[in-house]
Amino acid sequence: MIEIEGITKRYDETTVVDNVSLVIEPRTIAVIVGTSGSGKTTLLRMINRLVEPTSGVIKLDGADNRSVPDYQLRRSIGYAIQGHGLFPHRTVAQNIATVPLLLGWDKDRIKARVDELMTLYQLDPQAYGPRYPHELSGGQQQRVGVARALAAEPNVLLMDEPFGALDPIIRTKAQEDLLAIQKRFGTTIILVTHDMEEAVHMGDKIAVMDAGKVLQYAKPAEILARPANGFVETLVGSSERPFRLLSLGRVRDAVEPGGAEGEAIPGDASQRDALAELLWAGRPALPVKDGDGKLIGRITVEGLVKRARPA
């Protein structure tokens, strides 16, 4: 659990973060979304004390984050940034081993952990371990950056626009990978982005920031359905809103009894993808199959249209 209580950061006369309070539940993903200059990165960097707040307290599992020396605190918190920040003079394996090495793990444990993470990220430890970062593709570099942040098994992972430099296809893959790994390790993740799409897709809760203030902190569906003010509404994007709302739901939750002609849609696809499929096929309804390929009903344009508006 991360408790941010009345955090303010001023540089001279400029208030960058203004009296922000948030509680982030353990094992969830909180996304801080905002335009550039909104203070979202500064807020993130105050959690691991790369920036010291002017006033306010941040508690990690009940303990003030100033109760240990800053470098010790940072070793216990994962940190991944845009452009990955890999050390160009160290191999992939050495990069991933950075924090375990700082913590003084023994060799075998480090090697086991590096191999585990690389395998998890579909990088063959034998082939990629000894390579240098510049020998990898952008997507691979980003994966190594996240693997490095997770190396010392941190409970909390801070991510500052981690997917910002990736092309759309690799970005989607990286997001899926992160969701899977978050489930596996139960890591609490705080992710900063300017991309509402990413926020809705990744976040258990979303904090919308502007001019140093948190305007709304709520579940994605809530943000989409009931934006707190005009700024949040603009950020959500009125033309995108129904589709984003649909993207939160699974097809299996919108299944209606009955059958339909055409190719079956898998039950765990998003409702947004199902709507696209229906429109493209030019049919009012399509059958739905579960994981085993068994038909479980149908999905209709009419049904989805109803769900594209907040209840």
Partner: protein
């Protein structure tokens, strides 16, 4: 079959043509200070050898002029350089009248131009071959061994520069070691002082402009003026600090030369340290902090290794610059190869000047090649990543 011309080859061919036909190959003088008489290639060598050398340089020039395979160009430059090196010694023996110990034969402009032209060809070929750093050092060692072998074999003993050497063999090596000590010692001192100073300038922003400006100003003081400026303070130190005089510190001599070279060395070392550290990717630095490295760990594990190739470039500049500058130390009794240069100037004996200048140039050249190779070796693994 059509011929295509090589751009650099045109320059080389013009130089070769002028040097082979219009410029004198060797100079003959009745003794070491009278003006010399020019001798062409054919006049300097026994007829068969003269014709052979002429043929070699002409063919070499044609190979350089046309677009030809690299292997052929390499062979042409190496053969021409070897022939020139060996036959200039033969010319010395051929031109010196038997039993005459006063007569001097020295290489003349044509010889030097031919050496220049074919060295240019060789350097061009080596660049185009894209040799690995270790191969370049290997080539340097082979060249040094070849020159060493020619020196030991005595085939150049009839040349004037080696006659000057023969009469000063002991002091040549003593001054040589003094020269190297001055150049390397002042470099070492500059690194010991300059690295921490550079790191300090990087960390403490307000200090940076001030320190670099002061060092810049020092760099612009002419070396002779700097020697003069140092006489008074060092003389005072020698007179007032106990043990200083015993340590060899005096107003003139090695001490001011050392101090001046040290001061000149500081700017490249400090400036390159600052530039190198500033060039460390921001993201890498941020990640290092964010992952919990202390400032010390960040300096030694991230910043320093990444800045190292740039810092090494500064050290290379300093070393080459110091090897050249150390020549001036002789002016104030600091020793080094400059001793021969200034003696030679004083006696209008150009051969003596060359005895000081040629090893200085050779040393600087070798230092540059070796350090370039080291720089490349340290930076290949750290190539900048795409932004």
């Amino acid at each position: 079959m059509t011929f295509r011309f090589d751009k650099l080859g045109i320059v080389i061919a013009v130089v070769v043509a002028y040097a082979a036909f219009a410029a004198p190959f060797a100079t003959f003088r009745a003794n070491r200070i009278v003006p010399g008489q020019a001798r062409s290639i054919l006049e300097s060598l026994p007829s068969a050898l003269g014709a052979l050398l002429l043929a070699i340089v002409i063919v070499g020039g044609i190979i350089a002029l046309l677009k030809t395979p690299l292997v052929l160009r390499l062979a042409a430059s190496v053969i021409a350089l070897a022939a020139l090196a060996i036959l200039i010694g033969t010319a010395g023996g051929f031109l010196t009248p038997a039993g005459n110990t006063f007569a001097r034969v020295s290489p003349a402009s044509g010889f030097w131009l031919l050496i220049f032209a074919f060295t240019l060809l060789l350097a061009d070929v080596l660049t185009r071959l894209n040799l690995s750093p270790s191969a370049r050092v290997g080539a340097l060692v082979v060249a040094a061994l070849a020159v060493g072998a020619l020196l030991v074999s005595g085939s150049w003993d009839s040349l004037s520069i080696l006659k000057e050497y023969a009469s000063r063999a002991d002091s040549f090596w003593a001054e040589g070691s003094k020269h190297v000590t001055l150049a390397l010692g002042s470099l070492a001192a500059a690194v010991v002082v300059g690295l921490p100073l550079g790191i300090l300038c990087h960390r403490v922003e307000p200090l940076r402009a001030g320190v670099l400006n002061v060092l810049n100003i020092i760099q612009t003081i002419p070396s002779i003026a700097l020697f003069g400026l140092l006489i008074a303070p060092l003389g005072w130190v020698a007179a007032h600090v106990p043990g200083a005089a015993g340590f060899g510190i005096r107003g003139i001599g090695t001490a001011p030369a050392f101090v001046a070279l040290f001061l000149y060395s500081l700017l490249p070392v400090v400036a390159n340290t600052v530039v190198g550290l500033a060039g460390v990717p921001r993201a890498a630095n941020d990640a290092a902090r964010g992952m919990g490295m202390t400032d010390r760990q960040r300096l030694f594990d991230v910043e320093f290794p990444l800045a190292f190739p740039v810092i090494l470039t500064g050290i290379r500049i300093v070393l080459v610059q110091n090897i050249g500058l150390a020549t001036i130390a002789a002016l104030i009794g600091g020793g080094g190869f400059g001793v021969f240069v200034f003696q030679g100037v004083g006696q209008t004996a150009m051969d003596l000047v060359l005895l000081g200048a040629v090893p200085t140039v050779a040393l600087a050249f070798a230092a540059a090649i070796i350090l370039d190779a080291v720089i490349e070796m340290t930076s290949t693994k750290r190539r900048a990543q795409p932004a």
